[in-house]
């Protein structure tokens, strides 16, 4: 059940009405409704993997309680590692086994040992990377005695499987989400309308911008040799827009849908393409994952309060692991490595926390220096996205080679509707720029307008979604 499908458009109001009209008297009943709805939502993808989700939930829930009940440090540690190994084991089998098996066979073949690796033909359970990370953060926080274990299985299960965030995040923390789940929610008109507005903007980003780019991007990346340098550059640019529209659009819909149920999820994107350097970009892109890695990997490794050499090592580790989290392919690892290289100057020069504020705050336009920094940072991310999108490293290098050819100075692909698409992208960027000081672009836009003009604006977005939708594409991050 995709967020941009008719099924979801029917599912959401039904759950909403039951939640607020039938079970609004008790927090327990509210959670029971959310849990059943979340499991139905997940079963619509593939009901068989529901058992995996249930098992993972039960394991982490039990681990939390056993660790708290145990008087001995050794037993606590044993439960902790059991949970970590099983969780990472599931990820390893479903997501990474084939990659390791074929990579190992590839290495052996270089030494003239021909082996046929045993690979498993299995589909990746949707959302496994996300709900595994939910569970891991919960278990680690209990082990470190930052939180006490949850006693109610229903509350914990809702924390892991709350349907808006189940398949592609944001990756939540027990400290943030569990207290909200434990409390009975009361309806808040402003929060609900804000949620709808955020969902509308998310749908626009996904259906008009991301799906609109997808057709051209697919055409170019599927056959880079058949395109001129200018088209390849356009393809790389459009992919950068596509992945932002796709994933931040998804996040907006998820956060907006959660608001309808009175729940605030973590922010996942903060206008990353207006960043002035790569460090700022990574504070603004997929925030819930970046902070997860920061808190559970970077900080335990010593973080930035160590020697320069160790700081460099930690930075490379976190980016390579982050790349690997995205998928079992060398392209993702290289993408992570590249980002580590991009951020390295600011790590070494200790300028990585230079841009903590919002660019051109309170002003309509950025300064020339800011504009240059934004364009330069965006250029670096576009370059890295080429590796992210390509099927192999070889293909990525060929793609870049194609861009750096004489044909860069030709007229790019004249597809069915690139001009219309570029107009929409321009409008999209303007709206995002105007809303950059808020949680999402539409959060405050039009608040001073007359109600009918504001509604007209929302209708215009709906009409644009209906009439200019791109080809149906699954959300990119569902594959992770």
């Amino acid at each position: 059940m995709l967020f941009n499908s008719v099924s979801f458009a029917l599912f959401l109001p039904v759950v909403f009405l039951i939640y607020w009209f039938v079970t609004n008297k008790s927090g327990l009943l509210q959670n029971a409704v959310l849990l059943v709805a979340s499991y139905i939502f997940y079963a619509c993808w593939d009901w068989r993997f529901l058992f995996l989700l249930l098992f993972s939930t039960l394991l982490d829930f039990t681990t939390g309680i056993k660790m708290a009940e145990s008087g001995s440090e050794a037993i606590r540690r044993r439960w902790f590692w059991l949970s970590i190994l099983v969780n990472l084991g599931f990820l390893g089998v479903f997501k990474y086994y084939n990659f390791f098996a074929s990579s190992f066979a590839g290495v052996l073949s270089r030494f003239n040992f021909q082996v046929n690796p045993f690979t498993i033909n299995i589909i990746l359970p949707v959302g496994i990377s996300f709900y595994t990370f939910h569970g891991l953060s919960y278990v680690i926080d209990i082990y470190k005695k930052k939180i006490i274990p949850e006693k109610s299985f229903i509350d914990y299960a809702v924390f892991v499987s709350f349907f808006p965030l189940l398949v592609a995040g944001p990756i939540e923390r027990a400290t943030h989400l569990l207290p909200q789940i434990k409390a009975k929610r009361t309806f808040d008109y402003n929060k609900a309308t804000d949620g709808l507005r955020q969902m509308l903007w998310g749908l626009f980003k996904k259906i008009v911008i991301a799906d609109g780019c997808a057709a051209i991007v697919n055409k170019i990346f599927d056959n880079p040799a058949g395109h001129q340098g200018s088209s390849l550059l356009l393809g790389a640019f459009l992919f950068a827009i596509q992945i932002y529209g796709d994933f931040s659009g998804y996040s907006d819909i998820a956060i907006g849908a959660a608001k309808l149920f009175g729940i605030d999820l973590l922010r996942n994107f903060a206008f990353p393409y207006f960043s002035r350097d790569i460090a700022e970009f990574w504070r603004r892109w997929h925030i819930s994952l970046s902070t997860w890695f920061r808190d559970y990997l970077y900080v335990p490794l010593g973080g930035s309060r160590v020697s320069t050499w160790k700081k460099v090592r930690n930075t490379f580790i976190i980016f390579i692991v982050s790349g690997f989290w995205h998928g079992a392919n060398w392209t993702f690892i290289f993408w992570g490595l590249l980002n580590a290289l991009f951020i390295m100057p600011s790590v070494l020069l200790k300028t990585n926390r230079n841009n903590l504020d919002i660019v051109a705050q309170g002003k309509l336009f950025p300064s020339l220096k800011e504009a240059f920094c934004i364009v330069f940072t965006f250029g670096l991310t576009v370059f890295a996205w080429i590796f992210f999108r390509s099927k192999t490293l070889h293909a990525a290098f060929h793609f870049i080679e194609g861009i750096c050819s004489k044909s860069l100075f030709t007229i790019p692909i004249r597809d069915e509707r690139p001009l219309t698409l570029l107009c929409f992208i321009a409008i999209f960027i303007i709206i995002e720029w105007l809303g950059r000081e808020h949680q999402y672009a539409l959060a405050r836009l039009g608040f001073t307008w007359n109600k009918w003009i504001r509604w007209g604006f929302y209708y215009a977005i709906i009409i644009t979604i209906v009439f200019h939708k791109g080809t149906d594409q699954q959300f990119i991050y569902f594959q992770f």
Partner: protein, 303 residues
């Protein structure tokens, strides 16, 4: 909460009204799908020869030249699972049915409309033919189809008296090629068609074989003769076809016809009876080609 619901109703009311008007108006536009459904609803018990399949038979077999009471229930890109759905839909009504003709062409065993690039047609089957293959709830609503095309259809139908979406005659035979110029360059269109028809995976193969089994059992139980055919195609096109894929299809159908008594298979792909003038494009017959082909098909029946 009350304020929220009231605001929502106010906000969505105009959209709901527009959507409902569009849905009702779109459903009133006569088209092939609705025509064929209405015809079979009324006359399935009188049909003696039923022609199923894709555009190859839709434009290629004209019931006017068949001596039995025949109906062409084929349609553009119609795949085996829809043929089977049509047969099932009127189960119990096929009282007079003697022959079923189903084309098994180069791609037939490797495609399924609901999974292909023309899956948007599934909505037409859902809305107008009352045939539902997928679980996609949105396919039940005409208004949720391509909005630009919907607007064009509405504008065409409600502003132009001569507007029609029915492109078949009374017997279900496709007449669109009668009024169109034939493809100017058959050789170049052959290259494009052959590329398009190359099976890129065999995901649908097992499902199609099992559908064939179901159709065969269905026909056997009702003592109906099942005639599988491979339709004629232009030389340049047939020469470009992948030999493995083609041989696989032909062998599969020959084996079936040898093994099962009520099944026969006839391969007209490279039949010398058809010349360049008989083709509309690389893999479709034109009107005169269809006449020749139908007479040939008619000779297969026991009169």
């Amino acid at each position: 909460m009350k304020k929220f619901i009231v605001t929502l109703i106010y906000f969505f009311f105009p959209l709901l009204i527009i959507g409902t008007i569009m849905e009702v108006s779109l459903r009133k536009i006569p088209n092939d799908y609705a025509y064929k459904k209405n015809y079979l609803d009324k006359n399935a018990d009188k049909v003696q020869v039923l022609i199923l399949g894709s555009s190859h038979t839709y434009y290629g077999i004209n019931p006017a030249y068949i001596h039995y009471n025949s109906f062409n229930a084929a349609h553009v890109s119609q795949t085996l699972n829809i043929d089977w759905a049509i047969l099932k839909k009127y189960d119990g009504k096929w009282n007079a049915l003697k022959y079923i003709i189903i084309p098994i062409d180069y791609t037939s065993l490797f495609e399924s409309l609901d999974l292909g690039v023309e899956k948007w047609r599934m909505r037409d089957y859902d809305v107008y033919s009352d045939i539902s293959i997928t679980n996609d709830f949105s396919n039940h609503f005409a208004a949720l189809g391509n909005p630009k095309i919907n607007l064009q259809r509405l504008y065409g139908f409600y502003t132009n008296r001569n507007y029609t979406e029915i492109t078949c005659d009374e017997s279900g035979f496709g007449t669109a090629y009668k009024y169109k110029d034939r493809e100017k360059n058959l050789d170049s269109s052959s290259i494009i068609a052959a590329q398009r028809h190359l099976a890129t995976n065999d995901n649908c193969y097992q499902q199609n074989i099992s559908t064939l089994d179901s159709i065969i059992n269905f026909a056997k139980q009702k003592d109906i003769k099942l005639i599988f055919i491979t339709c004629p195609a232009y030389d340049a096109y047939t020469n470009l076809l992948n030999n493995n894929q083609l041989t696989h299809v032909i062998n599969c159908m020959n084996n079936l016809s040898r093994a099962i008594s009520n099944v026969s298979y006839h391969n007209f792909l490279k039949d010398s009876l058809f010349s360049t003038n008989d083709f509309f494009d690389a893999d479709h017959l034109n009107d005169s080609g269809a006449k020749k082909f139908t007479i040939r098909i008619d000779s297969l029946f026991l009169h």
